[in-house]
Symmetry: C2
Subunit: 468 residues, 2 copies
């Protein structure tokens, strides 16, 4: 009797252990990279995602996120991250900003950081359903500067190719005022002379100041090398102190040209490649936030450059799946979402135009991506609402306005935003005075609840298939 009971217990223990092991093997890990060119709202997006999943996960709030609508999400909480050497995303501080009175945007974090959520859910399909009552999806969010993404195309370029491309951008009339000082100094630089460290440093500093100005005053994304803007521990290191040259051809190995070329190559090898290998190739899913309204405000040149930046970005995913880099590093990203953020700054009826415009900017590449097995989508979202739609009757005309507090004002205003185009305009079609979409403060949360536009669609596309 006693023996039997022990055996029974041992069997139960074994069964329980086997079930736990099976269950663990069914737990899944998804690495979601959240990126976007500067000012696209990455920090606010991640904050909103964590807030909605941990404290607002109900079917009224997230109706298009299946696991929530079907009431299968049991709970979601932050758990210790695996990658101990990456700074933790400071959710507490960022959410405090959004919920403050008056609400403010959280300060932008200009480096890589991460946060892991555990989503406990009930499965309704397949093997999982039969094994255990609940399962866990570990969602690793990785937020990295858009500048790092814009550095990736350098991997496919020689120094000479980069010089030509970059000088072409800097010479564009729209950016000339910010680049004039550098370009003029470059004319007096003798690239064939022996290395003179103070001349090199001086011009590198001038180039850095130029990139800083472009970042501050324009929405141009081609600000390379990206680490010149966010140097971190590399501040003052020669590896980020290079700039494009006019002179080309073979140069003596002690020349300034050779020194800059070796810095460019070292940057590719020691800065970009490790990022590509250690992080980029480990991502499962990627969200690229695009500030398309900012690009429209900036004018036709920046819209064209945004299109180019998106093309180059897509090329990297594409290369990732089938090109040379794939053979070297085997990236595994299988879903990419391009999202035009902050869409509530245009009238509700015009948000579709934004989606179509983003789609147009990407359509050549989307096809390529699909061909290489990457699922891709474009969406127009607002991860944190900054405006409310407001209809105004003006002399019998119904105007689709927005109501919010612009960053430049201290009061809330009702504003009739311009109509965004749904395709790339020709120079002749471009409005004479350009576009003027306003940027707003976050809209005050009601009873501590944040509002969003299509965050649930975003979640469904990015991780819905892992929560069935």
């Amino acid at each position: 009797m006693s023996v039997k009971r022990v055996t029974h217990k041992a069997l139960e223990k074994l069964q329980s252990k086997a079930q736990k092991t099976l269950q663990r093997s069914l737990d899944q890990h998804v690495k979601l990279a959240v990126t976007g060119f500067s000012g696209s709202g990455k920090t606010a997006f991640i904050t909103a995602l964590v807030k909605h999943l941990t404290t607002q996960a109900n079917s009224q709030n997230l109706p298009f996120f299946d696991v929530v609508r079907e009431q299968r999400l049991i709970a979601c909480k932050q758990v210790p991250q695996k990658a101990l050497d990456i700074p933790t995303f400071d959710y507490a501080s960022a959410s405090a900003h959004l919920l403050d009175n008056p609400p403010r945007w959280p300060p932008s974090t200009e480096r890589i950081n991460t946060l892991t959520l555990a989503l406990k859910f009930r499965s309704h399909s397949g093997l999982r359903q039969h094994v255990a009552s609940d399962h866990t999806l570990y969602l690793e969010l990785i937020d990295y500067p858009g500048e790092w993404l814009m550095d990736l195309p350098l991997l496919n370029m020689t120094y000479e190719q980069w010089c030509k491309t970059q000088l072409a951008v800097l010479s564009t009339p729209a950016y000339r005022e910010h680049c004039a000082a550098f370009l003029s100094e470059l004319n007096h630089f003798d690239a064939t002379a022996p290395v003179d460290m103070s001349t090199l440093n001086k011009l590198a500093e001038l180039y850095q100041a130029t990139l800083m100005k472009l970042k501050k005053h324009t929405k141009l994304s081609q600000l390379q090398p990206g680490r010149m803007l966010i140097p971190g521990d590399l501040a003052g290191a020669p590896i980020i102190q290079f700039f494009p040259l006019l002179t080309h051809g073979q140069q003596h190995q002690d020349s300034q040209y050779a020194q800059l070329e070796s810095r460019f190559e070292a940057y590719k090898k020691q800065v970009i490649t490790p990022f590509y290998k250690d992080y980029f190739c480990a991502f499962d899913r990627q969200l690229v936030l695009v500030d398309i309204l900012g690009a429209l405000n900036d004018g036709p040149d920046t819209l064209a450059q945004t299109k180019l930046a998106l093309k180059e970005t897509v090329d990297m995913f594409e290369h990732g799946k089938s090109g040379l880099l794939q053979r070297l590093f085997k990236p595994k990203i299988d879903k990419v979402l391009f999202a035009a953020n902050k869409c509530d700054a245009v009238a509700l009826s015009e948000q579709d135009s934004l989606t179509r415009l983003l789609h147009t900017l990407l359509c050549e590449q989307e096809n390529e991506l699909k061909f290489s097995g990457v699922t891709v989508d474009t969406m127009t979202i607002s991860s944190v609402k900054s405006c409310q739609p407001k209809q105004v009757n003006e002399s019998g005309n119904l105007l689709h306005c927005v109501y919010g507090r612009p960053l430049t004002e201290s009061e809330y205003i009702t504003y009739l935003p311009p109509e965004p185009p749904d395709h790339v305009l020709s120079d002749a079609q471009w409005p004479e005075n350009g576009f003027n979409f306003l940027s707003f403060y976050p809209y005050p949360a009601y009873q501590g609840q944040l509002e969003h536009i299509r965050l649930d669609h975003t979640l469904q596309f990015l991780i819905g298939d892992k929560l069935t």
Copy 2:
């Protein structure tokens, strides 16, 4: 005739090429690591070294540096560094500080940085003399924070061992006031409970604040983990967010204890080991600057801890040559100099006592080091003079004073410094009111020339043998 001439030319060319190759193979590279515990004057030392070698290399100024005394140093200049990913030492700014009117100490650089000098010299011995008229020694200076050096002993410790050692230091009466808040909070921390990220973060922040206070108010060197004080790109990463615990023994893998232990182990593996492997093991020579006057001011506990810190440092060099780490990484440091810096703040006649005191602190280890083939020396220096000796006749007594401008004063003063002990004092021997050595601003340079004490001896010991 024409053929003959061509052949002759070709032969000349070949001879010249062979000679160049041979000459290059005789050029030497020396990696000199300059380190020191916080406030020991690393930046000023490197600045002085570059200044004296590039613009003040004459036999009146550096009489004990053989290559200069024998007038064989042709020229010395800064050349591009090989390691492009390490920030360049900002000599221009640091020397401007020292030569300013009034002169100031350069701000401390709290990260690794480097600068390469090429020393062209005539050889007077061996093969070199017969090959070519002049040779080049490339001197790579690497300046890294003392905190990184103090992290090395962690490689030989388990988390449990470190906790015990570190808590013993923090509980020393001399440091208790700075550590009380942390130690009291630690008493309420349940290490066996499941991970709670906000509790962990709170205590890690409190521990960080404690280390910051100790750094500011004491001369204690055991501030581990060092990156908590200088986080750089690791700011906010769990890998630097650990602290010593009271509880020990095996703990559940999801416990707070296990989380902290895994952070400690990750720190060893991902932060300390790469530094040890990539830099420490590549150094040829090492200078450790010691602020022995600061330790004396701080009291007997700090002097004892300085002795311990020096012992642990020496152990790393020792291990380097014969221990486990040597088998893994093969360090090649063959000369180590421990130098008590800022010695001009004591009377000329008392500087020997300082040397003897430093020697006493190190003597047990010095023997070990010599046994493992490392040449070691102790010296008392002043890389940048801050005082002038001044004899004052007071009622017939000749007082050995110093003349300079203390950091706490706006005027120059004549001051009679205390007499430093030449051995470690017992508690009974320690002066009732402790020591009070003053710290001074740099002494104004005369006609742009910096002054030093025994910088030439330092150079001769560290690189003299490479310049014969």
